[in-house]
Symmetry: C2
Subunit: 303 residues, 2 copies
Amino acid sequence: MAAAAWIAVDWGTSNLRVWAMDADDRVIASHTSDQGMGVLERDGFEAALLALIAPYLTSETALPVICCGMVGSRQGWAEAAYATAPCLPPDGKVATRVAAQDPRVSVFILPGVKQLSPPDVMRGEETQIAGFLHRNPDFDGVICLPGTHTKWARISAGEIVNFQTFMTGEAFALFSEQSVLRHSVTTDAFDADTFAASLADAMAHPQALASQLFGLRAASLVADLGAAAARSRLSGLLIGAELAAARPYWLGQNVAIIGASTLAGLYRTGLEAQGLSITLAEVEDMTLSGLIAAHHSLKEVTT
Amino acid sequence: MAAAAWIAVDWGTSNLRVWAMDADDRVIASHTSDQGMGVLERDGFEAALLALIAPYLTSETALPVICCGMVGSRQGWAEAAYATAPCLPPDGKVATRVAAQDPRVSVFILPGVKQLSPPDVMRGEETQIAGFLHRNPDFDGVICLPGTHTKWARISAGEIVNFQTFMTGEAFALFSEQSVLRHSVTTDAFDADTFAASLADAMAHPQALASQLFGLRAASLVADLGAAAARSRLSGLLIGAELAAARPYWLGQNVAIIGASTLAGLYRTGLEAQGLSITLAEVEDMTLSGLIAAHHSLKEVTT
């Protein structure tokens, strides 16, 4: 096995992902576990990390470990205080050093970014933004990061100028899995035409969302609405309402989407229907790029 | 114990409530259990009913039992097919007779009401509406029935002309108990001023709802928003979005609210701020009044 020069870590609420990196920032191997911040007590983080990276540790030197995500929240391993927008995406110079008990690791957690007015926060997405800007240093425009909590961030001169969070992904999960609508969306199938029509409907009449959700259940009871159409319509209505509310972010802008392929594709469909030209970037790729950039800036400090 | 002449039953998804009634429609006693439709298999309904009404049964005669609510749904004891709006609220003449095994009861289930375009359904609320119209036979206007699934119904000439359902109550429960916002609304306390301001805000900008929900979490993290204020703001935003979408129902109308006191009071607050004069009616009272009216019409058929 090649010797690792450092470890990159994306540590969210639900998952832990590590990459063993060589001295030229090439990936030697990557590993994941379900030991996310949400299931760990404060004294459980180090063991969860060591369980994945033990093969790369040596007694000669403390291996740098650079982490981003919810691991730095108040409920995480150690709180990495937010940077305040407008700001550059946080890099290694402002990372919080964590007191690990094992001398073979030297752990750093990158801060999230907060905004005071209107109040907003991100943890993890700032590293994806840093990764995108590391690859596209001249980018000026808006970055959309779809997910459980979708973020929209205005970028200018390398800075996160301001940003806004939408709970669209979590709302979709709650309505489709926990609400009365779960009886009507009993499929993973998807109907692209219904999605597009529903999204357009919600963008044209976003204020009607509150009245349209129960309509999905009723239509499956009395108008034979199928499960795939119901699921696609729920998705279209919720994403359409978000795009309507986020219009001040994307209107007339240069927009990049950083996301997993399926969800990012839905946002792209909606935005391209508004005449925008979209750049897509893969989320894991951008996270790793951001961690590499952070490691570079950390080396400037520590060497 | 006085002899019961008939039994009134409100059988919803979560609860079962029975009233033993004398021949002059006075309540002898009432009982409740948690044996709602949601926890019962089809062959469990009769036993759940008998567990509450056994003391009132005699071997001489089959006691009439008049039921409303989800007990008549496809997942209930027996399906009572919907009446179709526009229509009078269903009465005893159109009730579905259920084949009970015990000869001491004669069970009837009142149908719900459906609407084909736009698709919508109600089960239980039609009986509350019938009860309200039994007491107020000349009412012409709009009835709002706040709850897990709030209904708005236009009433003219004694008929349900059309209606619309909003999932506001269920959405509040999901967001306050299951979403990331649960960490920010950890109280039952309520702040009336924050509620009123948030409701006005949502009515003025209902399309912004999608962007305001996560703001509650962020404000509690970075702007010291208290739990009572966060909870009141969540309630105000969701009810405000509903009132904005339901404007075609209430604008310039004579509005009655049938509901439990706390929730009905929130809707009244919002509607009075729009200059409306509101009539309040208590939900249990209206349900029983509707079941009494149904029993009268059933007697016309069976005697």
